[in-house]
Symmetry: C3
Subunit: 337 residues, 3 copies
């Protein structure tokens, strides 16, 4: 590695998330940003003009029944997944989503973190849901940080956000969310470091991405690869997300931001309904390859199957013997009640 890839204004807004099963159309090729992180940050601090609005992009998202238990969002007909595709924006960009509801129930798409008017709220209160068989356009805008006329700062939209149904079953989308209508939304700041791999982890009731051990997601990466986790909470329970042998910084990016960053380094974080956070780790850094567990640290939840594997392969992509044996033991996982 030399310079890391960083986000620029031309950054593609969505990418293929290879391991979560989330097929995201790459709208434009990934671009290596022009500014390394440190310069980008320095530049931000002297920025005090009105935010410039970036380009607008269109995407069509299909709501589809996958099985009696699952409903998903997808970027093409027949391609719905749980979680839905990872959506990405650069600060300043606008995303126009045409939601196509192929189910026989009312649904919507409601986002966290970005700007939308009442017509894109995705709620019945604001009359912005999508009826069975219907279509509706939702517009999500984002903005860079700017200084208000009164001298205070309006923070930019960058963050590890998420989107979800707000209509199926109840006016809060309780059935839609329970069945899988959720996904990650990332808004990048100019200069943000880009990952090689992306993993979406949703603790939803007693499942991870609506799956349980021994069938919970196995996220794969090679030793040394930069991996981004987007972690989301849904449902009715409280959880804590723990990752073995890897840590992150408890701030916006999950990475240390300069010498004055007093944030905690953590490897266990509370994850409650509606929460989201993200971070990047270097796979196996300082600890080597292996089958590393991630799980809910609430004891009964992990015992009941809220456990998955972050599989760090050798640099050449081969799987060490000890990791293969660990995977085999994991797949023989028994639920303890």
């Amino acid at each position: 590695m030399s310079e890391p890839r960083v986000s620029s204004a031309g950054r593609a807004v969505s990418r293929r998330s290879m391991l979560t099963g989330a097929a995201v159309t790459a709208v434009s090729p990934l671009m290596v940003g022009a500014l390394p992180p440190s310069e980008a940050h320095a530049k931000e601090s002297s920025d005090d003009k009105e935010p410039s609005r970036g380009r607008t992009r269109q995407v069509t998202i299909y709501v589809e029944k996958i099985s009696d238990q699952l409903v998903g969002y997808g970027l093409a007909p027949g391609k719905a997944t749980v979680p839905g595709p990872v959506l990405e924006m650069s600060e300043g960009e606008t995303l126009q989503i045409e939601l196509v509801n192929t189910t026989d129930k009312t649904v919507s798409i409601h986002s966290h973190g970005v700007d939308y008017d009442v017509h894109s709220d995705g709620t019945d209160v604001n009359d912005s849901v999508t009826p069975p068989g219907g279509r509706r356009t939702y517009v999500w805008r984002s903005h860079e940080r700017y200084k208000r006329k009164d001298g205070t700062w309006a923070e930019g939209s960058a963050g590890y956000w998420h989107y979800h149904d707000h209509a199926m079953g109840t006016s809060h989308g309780t059935e839609g969310i329970q069945k899988g209508l959720y996904g990650a939304l990332i808004v990048r700041r100019r200069g943000d470091v880009l990952p090689a791999r992306q993993f979406t982890v949703v603790f939803n009731e007693m499942t991870i991405n609506n799956r349980k051990a021994p069938d919970a997601p196995v996220f794969e990466a090679r030793l040394g690869e930069r991996c981004e986790f987007i972690v989301i909470g849904h449902g009715n329970s409280y959880h804590t997300f723990h990752l073995h042998a890897h840590r992150w910084v408890d701030n916006r990016t999950g990475m240390r931001e300069g010498p004055n960053d007093a944030s905690r380094v953590i490897d266990n974080k509370d994850l409650m309904p509606g929460d989201s956070f993200g971070f990047q780790v270097i796979a196996g850094e300082g600890v080597g390859p292996g089958a590393w567990m991630y799980h809910c640290h609430v004891q009964f939840h992990s015992d009941m199957g809220m456990v998955g594997i972050f599989l760090v392969q050798n640099e050449d992509g081969s799987v060490p013997m000890h990791a293969q044996m660990a995977l085999d033991r994991y797949h023989g996982h028994e639920h303890h009640m």
Copy 2:
């Protein structure tokens, strides 16, 4: 807007919170502070002398039964509300509270964040409760940041704090809190930006301010007004506070503090018993007027009525048609079990 109003040493300690029903006596007129936030912050960093104690103010607080289900704190007889009045202090000030217990049960007032000796602890363990029909003086002090003799910093008292009963029903005030004996306490730092509107939101068991949809609080503001939310958790349950279409920074003020502030921008935050946080948003900034929901993001909690409305009116105070229709739909809210 040009310069924002900021806090100074002469800042009034309590204000009328117009929308929460909390009648707070304006002890002195609001003052526009002398220092804009940036200079004030710069100044703080070079402060290394002992903290100066500010003025002392007196206030009488009445504990009153409002109904069989409600007990409240109030600043005058017959004026008790749930939540109680928003109390404000400037760092360095002292507040002397004479608590008048008009009920037939033992009560107290216990604060978070400020300095008090054992006689103002508000607990039976420290023999500082107020018997039925009795009166007791509680003294809360605050301090500016200062450098200790050993070179470390003692952080100032500024924060979004709260106060509550610690005596009624059990030695932890479980009955008093359940019935509404709670309120917001704000300690301002010199230079802190002052809001135009204040809203206290308390998630207490399955209620908001002991109310449920469709009767939960509707907080009103005009487009562009600076609104301060003080958010408090009580009772026995876990919650998450989510506000639609508005975000804040997860730090002391809820606003970005300079170019090195690596804090997250969020719109959903864990809210558990005893927690409090606060933030300011510009009503409708970047999203326009509307009836914006705020709610607990735990699905069953929102379905059961933990939902209120942040009503952003037009700049002239009129209510857009879509917002009026949304309010009407909200008031027809049905609880889902």
Copy 3:
């Protein structure tokens, strides 16, 4: 007080925690660090070389049955305690733990925050548990912050971490943790301020350190002493940790880190399974001596006995009359159901 004691490379990795009953062998005498905190921090910011590995130290830890309800870790035979000993490392150091399992069940030791390979994971998935009557070596490494070749920062290992069983009862150690197989692990950064007293507080199910009021821990310190709390969550429930009359900063050290630290000051923090945090307070600073409660702020949890006392004595070690009376009332604590 003049200069505070600070951590240096020669810092002892474990100390005797006098009040938790945790007997930790002092491997080497405490050293007063060469750098005051501010200089140390300034120095860190220019550090961009590979981390240097520090010395390696060995320790033997015994897993022992204490009673039918308790199992503990200890540093010598017959000395197991709940919580286990406070283990300390300086960033860069390695700790080699020989775990001696004197029980008739499979156990392990799994750590948060530090670097370990799969053979020291302490899990059955990674075949790194210790059978009944067996011994196994676990190696925990730590590192200073360093700049990666790609220009990003790898944060150092410093933090208030913890260790626990991951094997007894279930593959997540549910029985081991429930019975007391847990303890605090601190990794110090060069320049970190050292305390005079240390207290480990573990909220584990409905107990504090597997005890309940009126038998929960009473932590003692003299007025003005620097006290370090390491606070850990375990089990299946959600909790919030509240300390009366003392506050801390919600960052890595619990203390303000320079003029740009925008972190909140708090006195109540969510504490869920697997979480840990730490902070230092000056006993009785600004509030005087007394019997100050710390407790879970979930009402039913405190009512059921999740309450202990932070006893701040006079400077000469005597106990004020009001504090003795408060202790007596505390020890007569009745559980409310």
